[in-house]
Amino acid sequence: MDLIVARPEGLYCAAGDFYIDPWRPVGHAVITHAHSDHARTGHGSYLAHINSEGILRSRLGDIKLQTLPYGETLERHGVRISLHPAGHVLGSAQVRVEHRGEVWVASGDYKTEADGTCTPFEPVPCDTFITESTFGLPIYRWPTQQALFAEINAWWQRNADEGRASVLLCYAFGKAQRILHGVDPAIGPIVVHGAVEPLNAVYRAAGVTLPETLRVTDPGVTPQLLKRALVLAPPSAQGTPWMRRFGNYSDAFASGWMQLRGTRRRRGVDRGFVMSDHADWPGLQSAIAGTGASRVMVTHGSVAVLVRWLTENGLQAEGFKTEYGDEDVSDQAAIAPQPEAPENPADEASA
């Protein structure tokens, strides 16, 4: 029997009797990161990276949580469990599972390029690698961080020069902090939506340098100031009354899906910035190769495509059925803004 199998509750390790990112209530859950489609409520006990603790506790309330730093090993029923950087968001981890000399690594969500806001992805040698495939098509190749931020800065600068606010829609947990960390704060003031600020606090507490951020309710945030401001808000804020205060603003959306003209135009914003916290196609290939695994299990995204591609390239590849954010959901989300603003800052799957 395989060390990890797909069960209706989630990915399950029988030898250690625990699940990885289960989507139904289970006894013992190992959580790769705190995005809501991976960290759900109702499990008996939780194991996660130490940097995920703050967000998990604020989202899930009083849970039984054990934390580990990267690289430290814990043993459970003879199974050795350790967490390794996934480069996705703060506290995101790949789960390494070793039993009787066999090693499996479950990646959760990951990104291979370093972004300065979380520990960069590290390939972990293993026999079997469980990979995501959100952007599992060769059309997805991300611009470098440098090129990306040059574009965002140029857009913000031009808007500021012309006296209008730059509203950048992005997920509140991970993406927003990456933008804050990467933009040039000399261009103008930075204002964030109420869903974003609590997560900034978590990142700052973890030692990530972020520029000063303002809330629209802060004293001194005048219409005059907003005209030069960069405003970060979750996608759900698009089209809500909250946006009216920015007057004649320019809007943009930051997501890997913005790589395609079609999705960009469906979003109905002025600009689409290609920015994802998932691996692009070359990233998936290098991550898989980096593990040296001979067997690859593919989860959420372009499962069929990646399985066929890996098989044709001489690996043993299979699909794992999961209930994480998948391609279709993200496509749908791109058509119309969600009607309600998220109550909870981390209540959104990231793309």
């Binding site: 060769p138 059309i139 190749r141 002025d270 279709d328 058509i335």
Partner: protein, 551 residues
């Protein structure tokens, strides 16, 4: 090329027409005239003949990207646009260039067509050498120029306005100068561009020899209830009423002993209709007629499908000309005795035109008959005959109207009062992903009706029409979700689905067809309504469809 690619990006990125207008003007003011000439050509809708077969392009791109065919196809399915797919898949450039748009088009792109004919083996290397020099953002534009799908959300009118602003001249004058500019074999030069924005000359105001047509005056749809006609339009006596023909809108220009026939897509179609060209020769110099080209037999207009048989042919043999004869149903006179008549009232132009048609006595020139009625109700009754006559409804033209430019109302109005479409409730059985804005969404559907009544136990669904317009984005998103859940099988980009969705389909015409499985072909099918209230068993049958056929 870099400046043009940047303009493309800017136009593509923005949803604001003001920002687009500003970007266009900025480009036109700074670009060398030779580059601007081509930029205007492409942005205004010009499309050179296919330069490279799409099949070859796909193959080379696939090879360069190191991908198997299936993965290229999967990528294309997700992107929904060939040029975009290729530009996303190619490896980074290994070389660079600083050539302008005109040099690229004239020295590199256009010669590909001749090279493909003369020495097809050299075509792959020529293409590879070209794209290796282009930066990623230039490649999208480059491949769009090759595949000919150059749509960037800028209308011809916006281009016209930008040119008028740059040249400091009247928009209508630019529109007139632009006629014929985007011809398929067009080779616009710096001088052509300069002429577009040049100060108006006296010769231009008295054009005796040019073959230029006038910008077409377009009609607006009229959708109010009959009880409001008097309030909105006034008395019928203030209007010229004609049938709305289903043919090709065209202007026949006769000047200095020469004849030009222009279609509304401003394509020169003189050669396609030799009998109209010879009729035009009988007209006096300085005459421009506006009307509809239709197939005419035994004193009756024939279905559009007949006209299509002529449009599609490369060579027009004597048999085809005899079997499918066309006439010009004229309804306006735009130039007479060398003078522009567009400012004089509609009714007066019509009197002049009728005199001309009567004097000429040519079988290929027929005055589109005028209809009269005591009241709008009376005309509405006459309009009921439209379907059996093979026309789309009526045209209402203000007697006092001048002949405007495009879809405007500033000098008077033309209304098209179309008959309600035929409609039928049909079942969605296949779905395919859309293109462009609808890439990745299942937005193109095939519809079927039952081949027998509900009582018949073994009845089947027979496909009869495809449609992809008529739904809101929100509805399309919901239909897309249902399609994904009810998929039976995928064949490439097409999915067959369990029949659960019923739509009311509207169409303009219906005819028997041996080429369709159902035996029936419909014209302009589109979705009028999603019948969420209707179970599939209650969808219509081939019988109901056949009952709509004209007798």
């Amino acid at each position: 090329m870099k400046a043009f690619a940047a303009l493309y990006r800017e136009l593509d990125a923005s949803t604001s027409s003001l920002a687009k207008q500003a970007a266009l003007q900025r480009y036109l003011q700074t670009a060398p005239a030779a580059d601007a000439a081509w930029a205007v050509y492409f942005l205004a809708g010009g499309k050179p003949r296919q330069l490279v077969p799409n099949k070859l392009l796909r193959l080379l791109a696939q090879e360069a990207a190191g991908l198997p065919e299936w993965l290229f196809d999967e990528s294309y399915e997700a992107v929904g646009d060939l040029a975009e797919t290729i530009s996303l898949l190619l490896p980074p450039p290994t070389d660079q260039h600083d050539l302008g748009l005109a040099t690229w088009v004239e020295e590199h792109l256009l010669p590909l067509r001749a090279l493909g004919k003369a020495d097809p083996d050299k075509l792959p290397d020529a293409l590879r050498a070209q794209w290796r020099r282009l930066a990623p953002e230039e490649r999208l534009v480059y491949f769009k120029l090759i595949t000919g799908g150059f749509r960037v959300g800028v209308s011809r009118l916006q281009v016209t306005q930008a040119l008028a602003a740059v040249g400091g001249i009247d928009t209508k004058r630019v529109a007139q100068r632009l006629m014929g500019y985007t011809h398929i074999a067009g080779q616009p030069s710096a001088a052509d561009y300069a002429a577009l924005i040049a100060t108006e000359t006296s010769g231009e105001l008295n054009q005796k020899t040019s073959g230029q047509p006038y910008p077409f005056f377009l009609a607006h749809p009229f959708n109010v209830g009959i009880e409001q006609f008097d309030a909105v339009l006034g008395a019928p006596a203030d209007w010229l009423v004609e049938w709305k023909w289903d043919g090709i809108r065209a202007q026949l220009v006769k000047r200095a002993g020469q004849v030009w026939l222009w279609s509304r897509g401003e394509e020169l179609v003189t050669d396609r209709f030799p009998e109209l060209a010879s009729m035009g020769e009988a007209l006096p110099d300085g005459t421009v007629l506006d009307g509809e080209v239709v197939v005419w037999r035994e004193g009756k207009v024939q279905p559009f499908a007949e006209l299509q048989k002529r449009i599609g042919r490369k060579t027009l043999g004597p048999k085809l000309l005899k079997d499918i004869p066309v006439v010009l149903l004229a309804y306006d006179l735009l130039e007479w005795q060398g003078r522009d008549q567009r400012a004089i009232p509609q009714a007066e132009r019509r009197v002049l035109m009728d005199e001309l048609v009567t004097q000429l006595q040519h079988p290929q020139l027929i005055a589109s008959p005028m209809l009269t009625g005591q009241s709008w109700q009376d005309l509405a009754r006459q309009r009921e005959a439209a379907r059996s006559m093979g026309v789309e409804g009526m045209m209402l033209k203000q007697r006092q109207a001048g002949y405007g430019v495009g879809r405007t109302k500033d000098v008077g109005t033309w209304w098209k009062w179309k008959i309600d479409p035929l409609s039928i409730d049909a079942v969605l059985i296949y779905a395919q992903r859309g293109h462009g804005r609808r890439a990745s969404l299942y937005s193109d559907y095939t519809f079927a009706v039952w081949d027998g009544p509900a009582a018949q136990a073994d009845r089947k669904l027979v496909p009869f029409a495809k449609a992809y317009s008529g739904l809101t984005d929100e509805e399309m998103g919901r239909v897309d979700a249902v399609i994904r859940k009810t998929t039976i099988e995928s064949f490439g980009p097409v999915r067959s689905v369990k029949p659960t969705l019923v739509f009311e389909l509207g169409f303009e015409g219906i005819a028997r067809s041996s080429r369709h499985k159902s035996g029936i072909a419909v014209r302009f099918p589109r979705m009028l309504r999603w019948r969420e209230d209707k179970p599939v068993e209650e969808a219509d049958t081939l019988g109901t469809l056949a009952a709509l056929l004209p007798s």
